[in-house]
Amino acid sequence: MGKTKTDLLRGTLDLLILKALSLEPLHGVGVSRRVAQITQGAFQVSFGSLFPSLHRMEEKGWVEAEWRASENNRRAKFYRLTASGRAQFKVEERDWNRVVRIMTAAVESA
């Protein structure tokens, strides 16, 4: 059962990345900052986890990458959700909400 925890954490990270990207295409640093922003600084994603996750999603076809100019006119690799990425985001969002509902109910039931 040791696996569940890491799976959950990775699942959480994936969901956060998908959420961040669902708003607009971002580069790696941008994803990190956006995740920090939408979690009010509660999650500081390390780049050592962020980049592998992004590449894994790219392999799975959830995100597409494209080189373009950043806000300060630097070239950066921007990630954007694909159709299947969007579908995946919906699935993970629904699953997460279910888990939260069930866990909340379970924890609060006396």
């Binding site: 790696g28 392999e59 076809g61 080189w67 950043s70 950066a76 694909t82």
Partner: protein
């Protein structure tokens, strides 16, 4: 070049691109972070340091990303494999057909390549085998080239040539070995002292010969045991070293055992033992052996090139030396040239070096054709299946599967099938080679052969290579289809199947035409080989081979001198003639297509040679008086030999028609005199002319000069007793053996075979039979594949047109009309295939015309009969589905789908 290949590979695997993109991405991330920190007021260097710290080590991040990428690739491969296994397991019948078909194709290739590899490609197990050259000597004017050298010439070559670090020579002999109270006939190489050191070999125990050892008269005889014979005969006993044994009755000491895996330098014969060269000289104390005549060439020679010397350089220095010797010894060495041939290219005999690659190439090509036919069948099957799976592919494409993923999955499936077919094919091929090997051994009787036709790395990689190739071919079309996977179009098309893509149908018809053509090429080749074999078997040989038993003996081996040998043979003939079932007997030195032959220089009386002209060398046999009657050799003129032609009577000879015509054109040969000793005689009178015969494979097409001497006037200790029997000759073997051992209990019997077996053997028609068997096997496989292909397409198209048939019948078409309709379609395909096949055969078989004897490469009989056979069987394969279509109930046909 290697670095370019490596980079190609990296690009293929996409590693380079991935790495570079990853570098750039991390680089840009560092810059973005640095900029951010600078905005917060840090100095550029501090900002960069902070940025790198936040990133957490560029290399670690890269490593993690790499793992993700690689893991994904492996994961998808594993998934494809799992999926392929599942799909195949769902239709095991189809998978089995595909695997068996591919196994036939790959098996044929493995078998043929195994033989080619074993005979032609495998290196000698010696140090630096590429430096070993065969020295094939030729003498202008000799009737038959033995490609051998004399000992005295060898000594001069050694002294005068600097291109070679060593020149060695050997002579293969059958000898009788008596050790520990047991006598065996074994195969020995009598070798020069430097034989082992020149080859760079080390003994397992004891020692090997030393350079120069055993090359002087009067030296003690020595023997080195071959490793496998040591194991077989002496059970690997290390105590044999130093043990005295008898070789043909002469004392010899075993000095050591040769290395494991070494069986001599002959490409086919496996040596039991090695003897010092003086065995070939008769171990005599005086110079009485053939080693001391420059003109007697009986040694096979080889040389080891010095490092950095090419075969061409060695050849030109050899030419200088042979020219010098020809000047120095015009009587013996005039017209001698020595060809320096790399050992591998001199197999199995230097003189066959030209034809062997042609044979090997032809059979590899035939096997390749079989594989191609198999691939076409499988491609056809997979195409049909791909059509059936279009829906699945369409759905997967619609769900977002990339083209690459779909192609990868289809290719994984065909690769899996090809590898399973390859594994089965290797097993099949090795099994076939075992079978052929057994046939080979039986064909050549008592001589141990080295037939390593089995698996080694080369064969393994060859089989793997063609399996991968086959997988790529059979996977290419379905993969192409998958790469065009377009959700919309596919889903739409697979809904209605009565109007299949016309292009796809044309493709399948094209495959069938190609299959029929290829299979016709195979069948015509097989037909030509078979007819060749039949022709040589029907050929009149100049004697009657039926009901003859041959027994070869050599009483010299057990120490008999000439008078004792002669009286032994006389007594033996008398005893054998008295056996029940024996009609008559004769003694002869030479057996047509036999193991031993002899030629002599022939001088004519009253016709002195012009300066520089060489006397001709001609094949001969020595026979006793009953020979011509026993072997039923017709005499055209004069008389046969009589008992009165004895040692004291005037010398006589009988020549064949060809020799009479060649030596005395337009003259009466009877009464003419010739000498086999020298221009001044003593002379031998021609008393008869015998009909031309087929004496050897080389004489199969054109007659060669041949003459006979009476045994009473020309002696050799080794003779063959030829027994004409009224009962099956095999049944005489036991009683003849008893008769021999009743007279001479220790005498080894070199060879007991019927004349028929001898003719079918290695020196006889074996090559033809081998060719016919191999070609027939491939022809049959080809025919089966083509018929399966035709049947598959015919029934598929009959099934697809069921609806149309129903309409036609409902509108009043007769069943026979339907039958004609389906058959006509098949007949068009068959006609096209057969025409292409005939054209291809006509073009291809003419290149190999030299392989066929007694039959032209465009033999109309073979072409016609084989074509008819194929057409008939193919038409039958069309007829079966047509008959099914004909029996349809029109209403059922209309309701179909």
């Amino acid at each position: 070049m290697p670095s370019r290949i490596a980079s190609l590979f990296r690009n293929l695997l996409g590693k380079n691109t991935v790495e570079r993109a990853l570098d750039a991405e991390l680089q840009s991330s560092v810059e973005l972070l640095t900029e951010e920190k600078m905005k917060d007021g840090l100095s550029p260097s501090a900002a960069r340091r902070e940025a790198l710290m936040e990133l957490g080590g560029v290399e670690q991040v890269k490593e993690e990303v790499r793992d993700v990428r690689l893991g994904r690739r492996l994961e998808s491969l594993a998934r494809d494999l799992r999926f392929a296994f599942r799909t195949l397991a769902k239709s095991p019948g189809l998978a089995a057909i595909v695997v068996v078909t591919l196994a036939l194709g790959i098996g044929a290739n493995t078998a043929i390549f195994g033989i080619v590899n074993g005979v032609l490609l495998r290196a000698l197990p010696v140090r630096a085998p590429e430096q070993i050259m065969v020295l094939a000597a030729e003498q202008k004017g000799a009737a038959m080239q033995a490609y051998t050298v004399s000992y005295l010439d060898l000594v001069d070559y050694r002294k005068q040539l600097s291109a070679f670090s060593d020149l060695l020579a050997y002579r293969i002999d059958l000898v009788g070995l008596s050790a520990g109270g047991r006598a065996d006939e074994i195969v020995a190489s009598c070798v020069t002292g430097n034989y082992f050191s020149a080859l760079g070999l080390q003994p397992v125990i004891g020692r090997l010969f030393l350079p120069g050892e055993g090359e002087k008269p009067g030296e003690a005889g020595m023997m080195v045991l071959g490793y496998s014979y040591w194991q077989k005969r002496f059970g690997g006993d290390p105590g044999v070293v130093g043990r005295p044994v008898l070789v043909d009755g002469k004392p010899v000491t075993i000095v050591g055992v040769g290395p494991k895996g070494f069986g001599g330098v002959h490409p086919v014969l496996e040596m039991d033992v090695y003897l010092t060269l003086n065995r070939a000289f008769g171990f005599g104390p005086a110079p009485n052996g053939f080693g001391f005549y420059r003109g007697v060439r009986l040694l096979e020679a080889m040389g080891r090139l010095n490092p950095g010397v090419s075969a061409a350089q060695a050849q030109s220095s050899f030419d200088v030396v042979t020219a010098r010797l020809a000047e120095q010894y015009p009587g013996d060495d005039k017209g001698v040239t020595v060809h320096v041939v790399p050992e591998k290219r001199a197999r199995p005999l230097p003189m066959m070096a030209n034809i062997i690659p042609l044979i090997a190439g032809s059979f590899l090509a035939l096997a390749g054709l079989v594989l191609l036919l198999a691939c076409m069948n499988v491609a056809n099957i997979l195409l049909v299946r791909a059509t059936a799976r279009q829906g699945e592919m369409g759905i997967r494409a619609a769900l977002g599967a990339g083209r690459g993923r779909l192609v990868a999955q289809v290719l994984t499936e065909s690769a899996l099938l090809a590898l399973m077919g390859g594994a089965a094919g290797v097993v099949l091929g090795l099994w076939a080679n075992n079978l052929l090997g057994a046939m080979f051994e039986r064909g050549i009787s008592n001589v141990p052969l080295r037939l390593d036709w089995g698996l080694d790395w080369k064969v393994f990689f060859y089989a793997l290579g063609i399996a991968v190739f086959a997988g790529a071919i059979v996977g290419a079309l379905p993969a192409l289809r998958a790469s065009r996977a377009n959700g919309n179009a596919m889903l739409r098309e697979s809904g209605r199947s009565d109007s299949p893509g016309a292009s796809r149908h044309r493709l399948r018809s094209g495959l069938v035409v190609a299959q029929l053509a290829g299979s016709l090429v195979l069948l015509i080749s097989a037909g030509l080989f078979a007819r060749s074999l039949w022709r040589v078997q029907q050929m009149y040989l100049g004697f009657d081979p039926d009901g003859v038993l041959n027994v070869t003996l050599d009483p010299h081996g057990i120490g008999y001198d000439e008078p004792r040998t002669r009286s032994f043979y006389r007594e033996l003939e008398a005893r054998v003639r008295a056996l029940p079932g024996v009609r008559s007997t004769a003694l002869a030195f030479y057996i047509p297509m036999g193991n031993f032959q002899e030629q002599r220089t022939v001088y004519l009386e009253g016709r002195p040679l012009a300066k520089g002209q060489l006397p001709p060398m001609m094949m001969l046999s020595r026979v006793d008086p009953p020979y011509f009657e026993t072997m039923r050799v017709p005499l055209r003129r004069g008389r046969g030999f009589a008992e009165t032609d004895n040692a004291t009577a005037p010398k006589v000879a009988i020549v064949n028609e060809k020799m009479a015509k060649q030596l005395w054109p337009n003259e009466d040969p009877l009464g003419k005199r010739l000498s086999i000793f020298g221009p001044s005689g003593p002379f031998t009178e021609v008393v008869g002319v015998a009909q031309d015969g087929k004496y050897s494979l080389a004489a199969l097409q054109e007659p060669v000069p041949f003459f006979y001497l009476p045994y009473a006037q020309d002696y050799s200790s080794m003779m063959t007793l030829q027994i004409r029997s009224a009962i099956p000759p095999e049944s005489l073997i036991a009683t003849v053996r008893r008769a021999i051992h009743g007279l001479a209990p220790d005498l080894p019997i070199y060879d007991v075979r019927t004349m028929k077996q001898s003719l079918a053997g290695m020196n006889g028609f074996f090559v033809f039979r081998m060719g016919a068997v191999l070609a027939a096997a491939m022809g049959l496989i080809g025919l089966t594949l083509a018929v399966v292909g035709v049947y598959g397409v015919a029934s598929f198209s009959a099934e697809q047109r069921t609806h149309e048939m129903g309409i036609r019948m409902a509108l009043g078409a007769e069943r026979s009309d339907i039958l004609r309709l389906v058959l006509r379609q098949g007949a068009v395909l068959i006609a096209a295939g057969v025409l292409c096949g005939m054209a291809a055969s006509w073009a291809l078989t003419r290149a190999t015309a030299t392989l066929f004897v007694g039959v032209s490469a465009t033999d109309p009989f073979t072409y016609a009969s084989v074509t008819l056979l194929l057409a008939a069987i193919a038409l039958w394969a069309c007829y079966l589905p047509a008959r099914r279509a004909m029996r349809l109930d029109p209403m059922a046909a209309l309701r179909y789908e």
